[in-house]
Amino acid sequence: MKRSGILIRARPLMESLVTIIIGLLAGALFMIPFGYKPLVAYPALFRGAFGSIPDTLETLAFATPLMLTAVTFAIGVKTGLFNIGAEGQMYLGAIGATAIAGVIHLPPGVHVAVATAFAMLVGALWALPPALLKIWRGVHEVISTIMFNWIATHLSMYIAIYYLAQPGRAERTVPALPSARYPILTEEATLTAVIFVVLAFCIGIYIYLWGTKAGYELRLVGENPEAARYAGVSSRRAVLLSFIIGGLAAGLAGASQIIGRPPAWSLYATLGNVITLGFDGIGVALIGRNHPIGGIFAAILYGALQHGGRYMEYHAGVSSELVRAINGLIVVSLAVPEIGAIIRRRLKR
């Protein structure tokens, strides 16, 4: 009995691993028509990701924002929502962090805290309209959050260029003042102390969801809306909370790339240093089984693919964007429950 219990608990992990292998195999198939060699590219990718301690730390730096955007999506799923608005909320969070960190003068320590908190607040505010549209008008969050993502893209570029641009360097905003920067952990990687804040946030979400009454209600609305209604749980309140917490997470993700990521310490006017982190988080959340702790490990894995991808690009000539395509294929495989069933049938034989 005990053994099968362990097997059942390990099942999601096994399924995630299998889909990752499917994704990597399919990625190899896409290399061949262009004359790339998967057997050169993939070893380069893994060496790049984990080959040395600085590389591993760099992988963690890549993973940091993804842990958060994964929380945004995962907490949506836990409430029965398909909230794909992390992208836009993260942009606005980055703008909020830049505004406080680059323009306003505050004492060290306080400055970091205020910039972080403000970024989270802005992210949550940007999550509010889709939440209210959902509650009041029944507008589907897939459409509303994507529209707000695109509005956020143009709004953030506008603010970055018109109000926050660094004089003489139009391609980026003013950098965060030293007092507003998270301390760098090692000179050999871009990892900063912001990762501890992020980990604490993810664990906090875990405790909230599984350890508090409000968190329980939130999950109940997602799992069984009927039961939630009979239990007198307000689904509107749960939806609102889910969006707001998701926005806080995405806002923090944006901040982590401004005040927690050398060497730029600023936002590029093209949004180049934050773009697609929100969408990547969807895949990360699904690989992590929509669990805030699972998301941490999935983010490290995807961070490894991203950091290793640059190495792969350098040594095998394969564009690192392929990593994102592989992520998409992993998501498609994860959508298929039959994959797990097929594997279980094979294992039983």
């Binding site: 896409f30 398909f82 008008r137 897939v142 529209m147 969408f279 564009s319 964007e321 994102r324 429950p337």
Partner: protein
């Protein structure tokens, strides 16, 4: 709102729309814009939305919901250009785009029907895949991450009509919407498609192959979306970039929601959104305006319009009972 009867509300909204349209045309004449050129721009912007939305209407009627349209638009815009350059013919490029779209739609159908996939997640997977695959293709084929411009001769030529230039694909999009309407409401196949989405168990008992119907609908939806994707570079922009679709797949989904899965209403919605986009670009280049309103705000207009329309115009429309749910014989 609740005291108004639905019919009165509908009439009122139509009346309001007509009055606004007249005021609007008067206004843009005064502002020095040409209504004809605005109509040209609107029809261009309408085309990919209409093709995508009409295809998705048929798809959703059969019970398959594909939110990966954005990804299909992106991928097919690239494969369309690749096809056009390979065959040195723009129209064949459109065909390659449609075939790529059909292939993705077919695979999505297989995954949804036989894999019993969570269609929302699988569709999002297509979108994420495209986000990476399209820049990967741009780098691998043309070794350049930015815009790829192809020779002007490959552009699909517009027809010169009395009213101005008109893309043949725009005409095709309108015809497609009418044909889709006839398919769904006047043919046996259409009846089966609707049955597959409404009551797959009953359809199955009556001898309808729900699995094949759904895969057919998904393939058709993908093909139309692919035509829309290839249309963007080959008959509109004249080049391809990695974010060429700019949310149009989701605006098309908004059209579908607005239409309640009726192809003709989806076409109307696509025209509204196309008009908003055409208007935005016309305004953006108007002297006297472009200095005052930053380009960034003009760019937001299509998305704001979409939000307004889905918020104001739709009540809760009824969707097929088995929409998005996998069906398998017990």
């Amino acid at each position: 709102m609740k005291t108004l009867s639905p019919l009165a509300l509908k009439r009122g909204l139509w009346l309001l729309a007509v009055v606004l349209a007249i005021l609007f045309i008067y206004g843009i004449e005064k502002a020095g814009l040409k209504p004809i050129s605005l109509l040209e721009a609107a029809l261009l912007a309408m085309t990919p939305l209409a093709l995508t939305a009409v295809g998705e209407c048929v798809n959703e009627k059969s019970g398959v919901v594909n939110i990966g349209l954005e990804g299909i638009l992106l991928i097919t815009s690239v494969t369309g250009v690749v096809g056009a350059e390979f065959f040195e013919n723009g129209v064949l490029g459109l065909l390659v785009g449609a075939l790529t779209g059909a292939l993705i739609g077919f695979l999505f159908g297989i995954v949804s029907v036989y894999g019993r996939a969570d269609q929302t997640v699988a569709g999002m997977g297509i979108n994420i895949f495209a986000l990476g695959f399209v820049p990967y293709l741009l780098m691998s084929i043309w070794a350049f991450p930015g815009i790829h411009l192809f020779p002007r001769e490959l552009m699909v030529r517009p027809i010169f009509t009395f009213f101005g230039r008109l893309s043949p694909v725009a005409v095709a999009a309108i015809i497609t919407a009418v044909l889709a309407h006839i398919l769904l409401h006047r043919t046996v196949l259409g009846f089966r498609i609707r049955a597959a989405g409404e009551k797959p168990e009953a359809a199955d008992v009556a001898g309808v192959r729900v699995d094949l119907i759904r895969i057919f609908a998904s393939t058709l939806g993908g093909a139309l979306c692919g035509l829309g994707g290839a249309f963007m570079p080959l008959a509109w922009f004249g080049g391809v970039v990695k974010e060429i679709s700019a949310g149009r797949g989701f605006i098309a989904l908004a059209c579908v929601v607005f239409s309640g899965l009726e192809p003709l209403l989806a076409l109307a919605a696509a025209f509204i959104f196309g008009f908003a986009e055409g208007f935005a670009y016309s305004v953006a280049v108007t002297p006297g305006v472009k200095e005052v309103i930053p380009f960034y705000f003009v760019n937001m207009l299509p998305y704001i319009t979409t939000l307004l329309v889905v918020t104001l115009a739709i009540g809760r429309r009824r969707f097929p009972a088995a929409s998005g749910r996998p069906y398998a014989r017990e």
